[in-house]
């Protein structure tokens, strides 16, 4: 049941780019700030030498391109997997689409509500119970309080925590907290869900459960962006893959062909 507006891509990214200051030059103390202002006042600019435009060197001295010129689309119901070695820019891409940081250039347009899970259990309070934490977590994911309350039964069933709902979460095992956080995320009423390396620690049984839930959501038009180092999982969950290298898109396409090139 696609409405006309959902015929548009869920996500359209055009030349999405981001550079970061490398640690040393970002002014974090008053002293450094005064020094810089003084040098500027004396007419000595901090950026004198011409900068290389090749590689990951950013537009100013001591800057680095984390991701550069990312252009891609994600269709409704699609699950896009992002693979690449450490430092390839996968997490920066997720942080940009999750609106945690702003791009330096380019733009992305997202149709519908965005929800993201970059870390399992962010914002959990150890003294609150599972339902209380689920409520807070659901609101963090962009739901109204009543929406989470409506789904509470389903969330507790999914995470198998029905019998533990009066315990503070600090008394629950790591695995239980993990299942709770993921259950809330997979029951969010978002149209675009970003999952950054959060499914890797799931056991086989819970992974199957998540897979079913994600399929169900995808049939309803929800899109996923899935970052993982587990290639079997990527193959199982994703309908298309994006291979990132040195901050740029190296290859994108069918999972089969991208994985073949990647593992070569």
């Amino acid at each position: 049941m696609l409405t006309p507006s959902e015929q548009n891509p869920r996500v359209t990214a055009r030349s999405l780019s981001k550079w970061y200051w490398t640690e040393s030059s970002y002014r974090t103390s008053l002293q450094e700030s005064f020094k810089r202002a003084w040098r500027h006042w004396c007419g000595r600019s901090t950026f004198e030498e011409p900068l290389p435009t090749e590689g990951r060197q950013g537009p100013e001295k001591n800057t680095l391109w984390a991701v550069r010129d990312l252009t891609f689309e994600i269709q409704p119901g699609e699950c896009l997997g992002v693979i690449g070695s450490n430092g390839a820019g996968k997490s920066t891409l997720v942080r940009l689409l999750a609106r945690l940081t702003d791009p330096s250039a380019g733009e992305a347009i997202v149709q519908g509500k965005i929800a993201s899970v970059l870390e399992v259990g962010s914002g959990f309070h150890p003294d609150l119970t599972a339902p209380e934490n689920a409520l807070l977590n659901g609101v963090f994911l962009g739901m109204r309080r009543v929406e989470v309350e409506e789904r509470m039964e389903a969330i507790l069933n999914f995470s198998e925590l029905q019998d533990f709902k009066t315990m503070p979460v600090k008394k629950l095992s790591q695995g239980m907290q993990y299942r709770l956080a993921l259950a809330v995320a997979l029951h969010a009423n978002a149209d675009f869900l970003l999952l950054d390396e959060v499914l890797e620690v799931a056991d086989r049984e819970f992974e199957n459960k998540c897979w079913e839930r994600i399929q169900h959501q995808r049939e309803r038009g929800v899109s996923f962006l899935f970052v993982s180092h587990n290639l079997d999982q990527v193959k199982r969950f994703c309908s298309r893959l994006l291979w990132m290298d040195e901050g740029r898109i190296h290859l994108q396409g069918e999972p089969q062909e991208v994985l073949e090139a990647y593992t070569l």
């Binding site: 970002y26 945690l100 940081t101 250039a105 347009i109 997202v110 965005i114 970059l118 609150l128 963090f140």
Partner: protein, 276 residues
């Protein structure tokens, strides 16, 4: 609903539509803050009874007995408790708001939500201890009135909710400023540790404004808390140097601090995630 993810504008303003969407977070965070403050503490909210009592006792000993500062004919304990009501709220609210960006950096790196909701909810949850202190003040008030003290509230007491709202807004705005400056310059909390006690003594809490020469009043009235404290005492205790001109000025300064605070917080909150 469509979201455009684009480079930061040079003067980012609060996305009120988004804040409205996330409005449930306010109540939940207030609840979380209160729960985390009182669960597992031995005396719980009782701390907020002891704290003003101890400070008021010290003030009575030093300022009223020792230095013989006249409290406009009001029993010194009531005089100090009324002023401390405001000061304790401000310092408590500032304590938590000003650390928002630093102490929640982990959360800010991982979870998206309109950041301003957090400092605002701290200002709201600090109202709980204000309520407790108001209870303490009321008890003392009744005891003193029963004992034959001539203190009586005046019609100015109707200003009470407005003065509290103004104090909340002022703490919010100032908290945003300090939060932004602390995350930008890590040494700023030393600066604030210096300014904060000076501010206490520049506010007529341990003395009445009328104890100072009239030619000094304008300087003290630049401090937006002056009119709040004097107005509150005029309402509750019936004595105080309060006029609408000075109050209007203090409201303008409060609004100015809140607006600029929002601006600088918004600016820093977007860029700080990259450097935290």
């Amino acid at each position: 609903m469509q979201t455009r993810i684009k480079p930061q504008s040079s003067l980012p303003w609060v996305d009120w539509k988004l804040v409205y969407q996330y409005r449930d977070l306010l109540g939940l965070w207030v609840k979380r803050d209160i729960a985390s403050k009182y669960r597992q503490t031995f005396l719980g909210p009782l701390w907020f009874v002891f704290h003003p009592l101890v400070t008021a006792t010290v003030f009575v000993l030093i300022f009223a007995r020792g230095l013989q500062i006249e409290t406009e004919g009001v029993p010194p304990v009531l005089f100090y408790l009324t002023g401390l009501l405001i000061w304790n709220y401000v310092s408590q609210a500032l304590n938590s708001t000003s650390m928002t960006l630093v102490s929640h950096s982990g959360l800010f790196k991982k979870v998206f939500f309109p950041r301003v909701i957090l400092p605002f909810s701290y200002c709201v949850s600090s109202l709980v201890s204000l309520g407790i202190q108001l209870g303490v003040l009321s008890c003392f008030y009744l005891v003193f009135v029963g004992w034959g003290s001539p203190v009586r509230p005046t019609e100015w007491v109707l200003l009470f909710p407005f003065l509290i709202a103004q104090t909340l807004l002022l703490s919010f705005g100032l908290g945003l400023w300090i939060a932004a400056l602390t995350v930008r310059f890590r040494d700023f909390h030393h600066v604030w540790a210096l300014i904060s006690p000076l501010w206490l003594y520049a506010t007529p809490i341990s003395y009445p404004l009328s104890a100072l020469p009239e030619s000094w009043h304008w300087a003290l009235e630049l401090n937006p808390l002056t009119s709040v404290v004097e107005g509150l005492r005029l309402g509750v205790l019936g004595t105080g140097t309060f006029h609408f001109g000075a109050w209007a000025g203090s409201v303008c300064i409060t609004l100015g601090i809140a607006l600029t605070g929002l601006l600088i917080f918004q600016k820093v909150e977007r860029s700080c995630v990259d450097s935290l």
